[in-house]
Subunit: 358 residues, 2 copies
């Protein structure tokens, strides 16, 4: 039987709870599909800060690099909110993404038929939404230099960051996006602010150049402000969206809320080679941490993305996805996706129900 | 009777059509309120490019500066989309904002009872939405330097922009936002990305410092990705939002679409002194330009903001706002806000109906 080493990074808040559900689902799925997992849990984020004084210990990064894939829970919490930049939990996550060189972040946003009522959008607008945001993850304003604080010529404080993209950074994320669109419905919308920003002008130019390699994919361009509107107006117009790090952060969260169930949405972060990083797109939800209220399905579906995109184990991935849909069809709901007539369960019980469907 | 000089900048696309409706509404309102307007129309954007070769001729800026207020239609169109940066219509708009030093952009997003069906959000989510985005308009990544293109150490092209804020830029927009919140429901939400960006860390620090001058206003902070979600999840939680130039661009457009009627939404851009700039937040809509299909109400309501915020003529402003609501209550609708049972009219006829209600 095949063997894989998975680095687990439970992190903060509800992270540990949702990761522990995902472990059980992976184990059972593996045993049915002839796959053996070796799990190693390592600290990251606030948990690592408390334990080691830094948000991403060297041991965690090197273990992650040596493994076949990395599954992360969530990062951050009020406790560390006032920390200096280099001691913020979020900095650990950014260092992890950079350290693993996972430049391509895939964020699906799908309105599941079982959960269409959870969306705040009218039913006719929400039904059938199925889009994928491909977000550049290791460049742009998140990492650009120079950055920091300084005193200007008038003696007052300034804070600054640099939004910068090099041609190869745009080319490689564009290729991932075109490949993704090709496997979906063949439509790619590139989002930028090329009417104002030079970084976006280069973005549009490179994406347009790469398009010649994918004549079968239909490419369009949209300004980010318009994209933020169109996601509300008519999200069904989108198939695959490709955009930079900060616009991707904003638009993927907006898209996720359009599905009405951010507690359901997984993500995959991939590099050229080496292990991928898989995580739910929801945060650490410190207010419900430890209360057995979290929705573990985004992490379970992240484990499915791990199998599919990280290990090439499509059958095992499909088994998990089907189990999640089946559990929903049987009426089990955590609080965040609850609606009348269904069965309200906690994090653990939801995990047990998924196991029954695996 | 009082006299004011208004610079009119019809601009591109539907700009001229909607401006001509607004002129008539201003004239009639003025005659009823004892106000006399002197209008001077000047070219800007693509129209100016075609006429003079630059998107903001010096004559336009100096006329605008000498007038009491500036009313703009819309800017941009496919025709000039491939122009170089300094020859884009949008560059004219940015130069105008910078030239008039209008650093505070007020963008209301209100769901009108008459138009609640136009929103793609469920009725219970949309009814009662009434928020104001206060966007910083003359700083941040739109204007920050260095910016441009270059070749990096690997010989490849890079494109870069600088997101930079100085303390005084944040302080002054924060004060406008606190004053605005004070006149509304006393709640201000400052939106940033302080978990990642130094420019946002300074933003949060300064906004928090200014808060001590406004003990009666309740200040909260939110990350921009979360704000993009919360606007979809529960827009009613917001009263006044203050944010930087690029986040304000994105969030105000998203908020506008939540009302379902971007063709209805005005904006005001104000400086410390000197004339304000008033414009609908919709674009130039080149596809319907000249077809008498545009909704002129956003521009008419921008004229009302001009009277209120630009000239201090609150009664005249109120008269226009009431006339617009009355026209909607009488069932008149342009295509963008049409729903069954109402009367579909074009741009001109909508203008005539508003005149009847003034
Ligand atoms: C926690 C934060 C640094 C992170 C980001 O901005 O990338 C998060 O919002 C995300 O989208 O994964
Ligand atoms: C046209 C463009 C430059 C402008 C902006 O980004 O500010 C527009 O989107 C707006 O919001 O007024």
């Amino acid at each position: 039987s095949k063997r894989y080493t998975i680095t687990l990074l439970p992190g903060d808040g509800i992270g540990p709870e949702v990761i522990s559900v995902a472990i059980n689902v992976l184990k059972l799925t593996g045993s049915l599909e002839g796959i053996e997992f070796k799990f190693q849990a390592m600290p990251v984020g606030g948990a690592a800060l408390d334990l080691t004084g830094v948000p991403l210990p060297e041991e965690t990064l090197s273990a992650a690099k040596k493994s076949d894939a990395v599954l992360l829970g969530a990062i951050g919490g009020y406790k560390w909110d006032k920390n200096e930049k280099h001691l913020k939990p979020e900095t650990g996550l950014l260092q992890l993404r950079a350290g693993l060189k996972v430049f391509a972040n895939l964020r699906p946003a799908t309105v599941l038929p079982q959960l269409v009522d959870a969306s705040t959008l009218k039913k006719e607008v929400a039904v059938g939404v199925d889009l994928m945001v491909v977000r550049e993850l290791t460049g742009g304003i998140y990492f650009g230099k120079p950055r920091g604080f300084s005193i200007n010529e008038n003696g007052e404080e300034i804070g600054f960051n640099t939004e910068v993209y090099a041609a190869h950074e745009i080319d490689r994320i564009a290729r991932v996006a075109f490949e993704t669109a090709r496997k979906r419905h063949g439509k790619l919308c590139s989002v930028d602010k090329a009417n104002v920003l030079e970084s976006s002008i280069l973005w549009r130019k490179r994406v347009t150049a790469i398009a010649s390699e994918y004549p079968d994919v239909e490419l369009s361009h949209m300004y980010v402000d318009n994209a933020a509107m169109q996601l509300v107006r008519n999200p069904k117009q989108f198939d695959t969206i490709v955009t930079n790090n900060i616009f991707g952060d904003i638009l993927s969260d907006e898209a996720s809320m359009i599905t009405g169930s951010i507690g359901m949405l997984p993500s995959a972060s991939l590099g050229e080679s080496g292990p991928g990083l898989f995580e739910p797109i929801h945060g650490s939800a410190p207010d419900i941490a430890g209360l057995d209220k979290a929705n573990p399905l985004a992490t379970v579906l992240s484990a499915a993305m791990l199998l599919k995109y990280g290990l090439g184990e499509e059958n095992a991935a499909k088994r998990i996805e089907t189990a999640v849909l089946d559990t929903l069809s049987r009426g089990y709901r955590t609080g965040d996706i609850y609606s009348d007539g269904n069965k309200l369960v906690g994090c653990k019980e939801m995990g047990e129900e998924v196991l029954k469907s695996v």
